[in-house]
Amino acid sequence: MAVGNAINPNDAISSAGKVELLFFGQLKERLKCSKLSLEITQPLSISELKLRLVSQYPHWQPWLEERELLAALNQTMSSSDEIVKAGDELAFFPPVTGG
C-alpha cells in the first residue's frame, strides 16, 4: 500500500543528523522502547541501520532480526535496502493485527 511521505526529509546540506526511530506492538514491549533518536553521519540502508542498533543494544538482536519484522520509512512500508537519511522517520513493527 503506497502512502505519500508524511515527513519531508531535509534536503540535507550536511548529511549528518538524527533519524527518529519508532517501535510498535510486541516489538516495543520487548525492546522496552517506543521511540529513539539515532545520530547518523551519512545515509545508510535500513538493514545497515539495524546493524548499528544491534551493535549499540546487543540484547535487541533477536527482536530486530525477527524474520517477519516490518519497516516503514517516513510512514511508507519499505524494504530493508531502502536508504535512510538524516531527518527521516523510521518505524519497526511486527505484522499488523487490527480490525
Binding site: 502512502v3 510486541q26 505484522p95 499488523v96 493485527t97 487490527g98
Partner: protein, 151 residues
C-alpha cells in the same frame, strides 16, 4: 464521493454512522456495514479485554488509501472507516466500515475489500488480556489468504 476516516479511543454509534451515510444521498440504494466487536477469540481461553495501539498518522493515511483503492474498483459514493484504539472490554465495538453504492454487489464487495485490506495493511496491533495474563495477537494467515480474491 466522500471518505471519512477516524481512529479514536471513544466508542462509535452504528445507527448514527448509518444515518450519516444515508442522509442527503439521492443516488445510493445500497448500504453495507461491517462492525467488529471484542469477542472470545481464542478457543478455550477467556478474553476479558483487548488493547489496541496504532501508528498515528500512518494508520489514517493507510485507511484513506485503502478507501481510495476501493473507490477505483467499485462505484462507492461514501465510505466511512472508524477504528478504535486503547483498552476495549469484551462486547465493545472495535471497527466500523460502512459504504454506500448504487449497486448491492458493489457495496458488499467494497466493504469486504476494505476489511480484508485493513486486516492486512493498517498499522494496528492488538493485545488480548486474559484473567491472569496477556499476549499479543499473532497475524492470521487466513487474513492474508482473504486478499487472494481481490487480485
Amino acid at each position: 464521493m466522500s471518505i471519512h476516516i477516524q481512529v479514536q479511543t471513544d466508542d462509535f454509534n452504528v445507527g448514527n454512522e448509518h444515518n450519516t451515510l444515508c442522509s442527503n444521498n439521492k443516488s445510493d440504494g445500497a448500504v453495507v456495514t461491517f462492525t467488529g466487536l471484542v469477542r472470545e477469540f481464542s478457543s478455550g481461553d477467556n478474553v476479558i479485554a483487548l488493547e489496541l495501539e496504532h501508528y498515528p498518522g500512518m494508520t489514517e493515511q493507510l485507511l484513506k488509501s485503502i478507501a481510495e483503492q476501493a473507490q477505483t474498483r467499485w462505484q462507492l459514493a461514501r465510505i466511512c472507516i472508524i477504528h478504535r484504539v486503547g483498552y476495549l472490554a469484551l462486547g465493545e465495538q472495535i471497527v466500523f466500515v460502512g459504504v454506500t453504492s448504487r449497486h448491492r454487489q458493489a457495496a458488499f464487495e467494497g466493504a469486504q475489500f476494505i476489511m480484508d485490506y485493513l486486516k492486512n495493511h493498517a498499522t494496528f496491533w492488538k493485545k488480548e488480556h486474559f484473567k491472569d495474563s496477556s499476549n499479543w495477537v499473532e497475524f492470521k494467515q487466513s487474513d492474508k489468504q482473504a486478499l487472494g480474491k481481490w487480485t
